[in-house]
C-alpha cells in the first residue's frame, strides 16, 4: 500500500485505493488552521473558504485524481497542478482572518514569507517552480517515489501560496500594489504560462517517460495525453487567472466609483 500517490508499474483499475498520507496531511492542515485562528474568531465565510481550499487539495491528492495524475495520465497530472497551485491557495489564504495574520507579523519566519510575497518575487518564484516541476527529468525523477511525489505537490502548493498571497491577502498592506497592478500581475502570469503550454502541446515526442510508458488508461495515446495536458494548462489556468483578474477588476471598479468604501 502507498501512503502518497506515486507512479506504479501496475495496470490501472478503478478499484479504490487508500492513501493515508493524504488524509493525514489534510487533517494536519485543518488542525493548523484551528490552532492559527484560535482567538481570532474567523467568520463563517472565512471558514468556508478555507474548507473549500482543503477540499480542493484533498480531491487533487487522493484517489482517483492523485493516483491517475501521479503515474498514468499527464492530463490528470495537469489537473492536479491547477487544483493544487492555482485553485486551492487563494481559497486557503482567503480563509485566514486578518486578526490572526496581524498577530504573527514581525517574526523572523514571517519576514521570509513577506519577502517571498513581494509581487515580483512571488511572480518569478511561482513561475520558476512551474518550469522546474514540468521539466521532464524532474517529473520522471520525482514521480517514481512517494517522497518525490509529495515534494512535487508541496512545491506546487508553496509556489501557489506565494503567488496568490499578494493578490488575496490583506497582510502586508502594499500601497504600491494597487488593484490595477494586481490585474496586470495576473495577466502576466497567463503570458508566462504560455511557454510550458506551447512545449507540451506542440512537442513532437512525449516529454515524460512516466506517462509514455505507463500502463494504458483509456484510448488516449501518450502524445494525445500530453497535448491534452497542454490544453488543460492553457484553458484551465487561463480561466482561473482571468476569473481572478475579473474579480479584482470588479473590486477596483467598485472602489473607483465609490471612494468612500
Amino acid at each position: 500500500m502507498q501512503w502518497w500517490c506515486a507512479a506504479q508499474s501496475i495496470p490501472w483499475d478503478w478499484s479504490w485505493r487508500p492513501y493515508p498520507g493524504v488524509w493525514l496531511f489534510i487533517a494536519l492542515l485543518c488542525l493548523a488552521y484551528r490552532a492559527f485562528t484560535r482567538g481570532a474568531a474567523p467568520s463563517r465565510l472565512e471558514i468556508a473558504r478555507f474548507a473549500g481550499g482543503a477540499l480542493v487539495l484533498w480531491v487533487a491528492l487522493d484517489w482517483p485524481v492523485g493516483a491517475l495524475g501521479s503515474g498514468y495520465l499527464a492530463s490528470v497530472h495537469m489537473v492536479q497542478f491547477l487544483l493544487i497551485a492555482l485553485l486551492a491557495p487563494p481559497l486557503l489564504i482567503a480563509g485566514l482572518p486578518r486578526e490572526a495574520l496581524e498577530r504573527v507579523r514581525g517574526g523572523r519566519a514571517t519576514s521570509v514569507l513577506e519577502f517571498l510575497a513581494r509581487p515580483l518575487i512571488a511572480l518569478l518564484f511561482f513561475h520558476a517552480i512551474v518550469v522546474a516541476t514540468h521539466w521532464p527529468e524532474v517529473v520522471d525523477g520525482l514521480m517514481a517515489s512517494q517522497a518525490g511525489s509529495l515534494a512535487l505537490d508541496m512545491a506546487w502548493l508553496g509556489g501557489g501560496l506565494a503567488f496568490w498571497w499578494p493578490v488575496v491577502s490583506p497582510i502586508p498592506h502594499r500601497p504600491r500594489f494597487p488593484l490595477g497592478v494586481r490585474i496586470c500581475y495576473l495577466i502576466a502570469s497567463t503570458v508566462l504560462m504560455t511557454l510550458p503550454y506551447v512545449f507540451l502541446t506542440f512537442a513532437e515526442l512525449p516529454f515524460y517517460a512516466t506517462y509514455e510508458l505507463a500502463p494504458p488508461v483509456g484510448t488516449l495515446s501518450a502524445g494525445e495525453d500530453q497535448r491534452l495536458a497542454g490544453l488543460i494548462m492553457r484553458i484551465g489556468g487561463g480561466t482561473i487567472l482571468w476569473t481572478a483578474a475579473g474579480v479584482v477588476f470588479w473590486f477596483w471598479y467598485r472602489s473607483e466609483s465609490d471612494p468612500v468604501r
Binding site: L124, P136, L205, L213, P216
Partner: protein, 225 residues
Amino acid sequence: MRAACVAALGAVGLAVFACASPDTAIDRTEGTGELRGLALEQPFEVPEFALTDSRGRRFDFRPETAGSLTLLFFGYTHCPDICPVQMAVLGAALDDLSYADRREIEVVFVTTDPARDTPDRLRDWLDLFDASFIGLSGELETVNEIQAGFHLPPARIEETSPAPGAGEPYLVGHATPIVAVTGDGVARALYPSGVRQTDWRHDLPLLLRLNRSVSQPAGADTRGD
C-alpha cells in the same frame, strides 16, 4: 536592482525550458552513434516458421519478411501493461518516418494467448496502433518453440484463481523485447520494455541503413533516401 536580477534569472529559466526536448532529456548514448536498443553481440539467423495471420492465411516468416526490417514481438492482446505500451510507442515512432522508409519495415506480433486472441480480436487490437501491423497466431507450444529459436523464454499462463479456461481473466507471462530482424533473416537487436519513441526515432534510421546494407548487393542502395 535585486528585483531586476531575479527577473533576469527567471527569464533564463524560462528560456532553458524552451530549449528542453525529449531528445536532450534522455539521450543515454549521446555522441556514440550506437543503437539505443540492445545490439546483439552475436547476431543470429532466425528460425524458419509459419503461422496463421489475422485473415486466416499462412504466413511464412522468412520469405514474407525477406528484404524488410522486421520488428517482431511476442505478446497478447489482454496484456494490461507491457504489450499495449510497446505497440503504442512503436506505432507512434513509425508515424514519424517517411513513406519510403515506412514501407521497408514490417511489424509482426505473435500472440502468446491463442485461446483468447481470435483473428478478429487480434486484428482489432493491432488496428488501434497501426493497421499495417501483422498479427500471427498458432498453438502455444509452436509459438514457444519459435521463441526458443529467438533465444527468448517460453510464454506461460500464470497461475490464477479460478483456473484459466473457466472464462475468467488470466495473465500470460511472456518475453518483453521487440526483436529487430534485418531482411537477410538475422536478428540484430532487442528493444525491451521501457524503450521510448525518442529511442526508436534514433535507432530506426540506423536499423534501416543496416538493413539496406545486408539486404541488397553493395552499391544498389537506392530505396528511401
